[in-house]
């Protein structure tokens, strides 16, 4: 704030004729920019305060008017589980593919095509989530139910994730389908960030590796991946943050039930916090609304934590080959 270092004498404010041109303009302009920046703080404080104010009655109010035993923990528990479970599946599916795609665009695709191919991937990010939801339930879910689910149940049924007594969802509206759709949705984020760091790999590292007789893949393993590791991890965390908060695709596709469910192929699935809010909110009133807002606060805290970790990893930066 160097402009404040030399505050003009207060009395010159009145005698504007003697002032250099634009002094008043400077003040107004500085005031506007400073005010906007300060408003950011106010806004975030307001977000926290209003959510707490409107969420609090869920704990302090007369909880007997709520369904179940009225305990907030038993309400939010399965939702937290569902949120994290679905996002983790999406992350597991998306990250390896995203890294491969980022490497393809940065190191395999013809130079001239690379930007065009990259923008194809960015197009995936531009599609609204409600469209993904409609696509997921109309196109993907039937395919999953017809060919993927039975195969997984028959061949990998010994893994608890795929084998349980509950029959597979004929509609395909299960955790795995939602996980695949969310994976498609967060893939562009992870790809974009990974691509950015892969491209920045020092040319000398790459050429040194190639000069020693490494094949392209060996060069990537020796030079590109160590350099880009922290970038990839922070990209994945940002993608996770997006997946945790994703609402519409989950709300449209998932067939939810109350409780904790590990099996990803059935029609009984733990719902996510965001989708639960979207589904319940329009029909809720009174304390139910407060409880939903309180779950929203929980979601905010979770995503906040994930994003903080992501930034921390990102700012730790390159600690690979030169270390």
């Amino acid at each position: 704030m160097t402009i404040l270092d030399n505050p003009p004498p207060a009395d010159t404010d009145e005698s504007s004729i003697d002032e250099p041109v634009g002094k008043a303009g400077d003040k107004v302009f500085f005031g506007l920019s400073f005010g906007a920046a300060a408003l950011i703080m106010v806004t975030l404080a307001a977000v926290a305060i209003f959510l707490v104010l409107e969420g609090l009655p869920a704990f302090t109010g007369d909880t007997s008017e709520l369904d179940g035993d009225g305990s907030f923990l038993s309400y939010v528990g399965p939702l937290v589980f569902g949120t994290i479970y679905i996002s983790a599946i999406a992350l597991l599916l998306a990250t390896p593919v995203a890294i491969a795609v980022a490497l393809y665009v940065s190191h395999y695709a013809p130079r001239k095509l690379a930007t065009t191919l990259g923008s194809f991937i960015d197009l995936l990010a531009a599609i609204p989530s409600v469209v993904y939801g409609l696509w997921g339930i109309t196109v993907l879910a039937p395919v999953m139910a017809r060919s993927v689910f039975p195969w997984l149940r028959d061949n990998l049924g010994f893994i608890p994730l795929f084998g349980s007594d509950v029959p597979i969802a004929q509609s395909g509206r299960s955790t795995l389908t939602v996980g695949v759709v969310l994976a498609v949705m967060i893939l562009p984020i992870i790809t974009a960030i990974s691509r950015e760091v892969f491209v920045q790999t020092p040319r000398l590292h790459e050429e040194a590796s190639l000069a020693l007789g490494a094949t392209r893949w060996e060069m990537i393993r020796q030079a590109v991946i160590p350099y880009g590791r922290s970038g990839v991890i922070s990209g994945a965390m940002l993608g996770l943050g997006r997946a945790l908060g994703e609402t519409m695709a989950v709300a449209i596709i998932l067939s939810p039930a109350k409780g904790y469910f590990w099996d990803v192929l059935t029609a009984q699935n733990s719902n996510s916090i965001a989708a639960n809010i979207a589904l319940q909110f329009p029909e809720s009133s009174g304390l139910e609304v407060n409880r939903l807002i309180a779950t929203g606060l929980v979601l905010f805290v979770i995503t906040f934590g994930v994003n903080v970790i992501a930034r921390r990893i990102a700012s730790a930066g390159f600690s690979g080959a030169d270390g």
């Binding site: 302009f29 920019s33 975030l44 609204p128 989530s129 409609l134 908060g245 905010f300």
Partner: protein
């Protein structure tokens, strides 16, 4: 990277079974041969069953290609070359794999949306419509109103914050805090933004509040950090010499910003703003909790429910009226309209960034 194409001297002595200095190479025609073989194998996987099964064809072809390359290259070339070719095949297939959902989504939206892509959809509301007919005119108007309001709030808010961060704050603690908070803001889930706006307006207006303004406040929360990020980046790209030259001529700071810095960065800033708009225009969840949905046209953002395209699409799909096909068709056409708007905005951003670039850089 032509260096990789050159057959490398084989360093592992035990692999050179033919006794020559270099092993054979698969570059060029042999690789095409393997690919052709894989395509044929893929075709064979569905031919006996009759009828073209595209998915099976693609999957079997890719698998056959990857495994075939690995084995043949291992025999003809060297294990290291084989791994390299294997990696190349994996990367390429990953890219093709990702194009699959993109193509499928776009194709589905266009195909299903075409059913109601007619004049009525863009001129009629859902007022009094039960079953077939009706349209999304009220939702389009609602989306335009809410998005414009959002832009009016978020653009000055974001732009001035960015100007503060780049032009006024020189690493002060306050600016570092603000930067950190912008990061936090970027990570706010959209539904939480909606709940915040709802909580805010409930305290002012009482429970059950629904209005376009509340929706715009929620979207502002989502759009502002994007505007700040892109504008900040663009302002930082403006060379300091330009500012110094302006100061040296006695131009006050604010005029330097308005007349020198902003015009230099305007291409990137506008592109960022348009892309930020495209991002919030498809947001559904925050609007669902703040604006709700209505069948009628409501042009007043200050009171009452409004229809918006994403919520209209969601609602028509989730709670169809009889016959359900008519509702679902409307949902898809609303989705198609939304995708078209987003695509048009993205294209506009590209054109803007080209037109507004300073002449030397074009």
């Amino acid at each position: 990277m032509s260096i990789v194409e050159t057959p490398l001297p084989d360093l592992d002595h035990d692999e050179t079974t033919d006794g020559s200095m270099t092993s054979g190479s698969l570059a060029g025609a042999p690789m095409m041969g393997i690919f052709a073989g894989a395509v044929v194998l893929g075709a064979l996987s569905w031919l006996p069953f009759g009828g073209v099964n595209w998915a099976r064809w693609v999957i079997v072809t890719l698998l056959a290609y990857i495994i075939g390359t690995l084995i043949i290259s291992r025999i003809v070339e060297s294990p290291r070359q084989a791994t390299d070719r294997f990696a190349t095949a994996i990367m390429t297939s990953a890219f093709l794999l990702v194009l699959l959902p993109l193509v499928s989504v776009v194709w589905t939206v266009v195909e299903r949306g075409a059913n109601r892509f007619d004049w009525a959809f863009y001129t009629e509301t859902m007022r009094g419509v039960i079953g077939e007919g009706g349209g999304g005119y009220h939702a389009i108007v609602g989306t335009l109103i809410v998005t414009s309001l959002t832009a009016v709030f978020a653009i000055p808010f974001g732009l001035f914050t960015a100007i503060y961060l780049v032009e006024y704050a020189h690493g002060s603690r306050f600016s570092k805090t603000v930067t950190g908070l912008v990061d936090v803001m970027t990570g706010i889930p959209s539904i939480v933004a909606g709940l915040f706006a709802y909580a805010l307006f409930v305290l002012i207006d009482g429970p059950g509040h629904r209005s376009g303004l509340a929706g715009a406040v929620a979207l502002t929360l989502l759009m502002t950090p994007v505007v700040i990020r892109t504008s900040e980046e663009m302002l930082r790209l403006v060379p300091n010499e330009l500012r110094e030259a302006s100061y040296a001529l006695g131009v006050p700071r604010w005029k330097t910003i308005v007349k020198v810095v902003l015009p230099t960065a305007i291409a990137g800033i506008l592109t960022g703003i348009v892309l930020a708009t495209a991002r919030v225009i498809g947001e559904t969840a925050p609007l669902l909790v703040t604006i709700g949905i209505t069948a009628d046209l409501n042009k007043n953002p200050l009171s009452g429910r409004m229809a918006t395209l994403p919520v209209f699409s969601y609602n028509s799909y989730k709670f169809p009226t009889l016959p359900p096909e008519a509702s679902i068709d409307r949902a898809w056409t609303a989705a198609l309209t939304l995708v078209l708007i987003v695509m048009i905005l993205s294209a506009t951003a590209r054109i803007l960034s080209f037109i507004l670039k300073p002449k030397g850089l074009r």
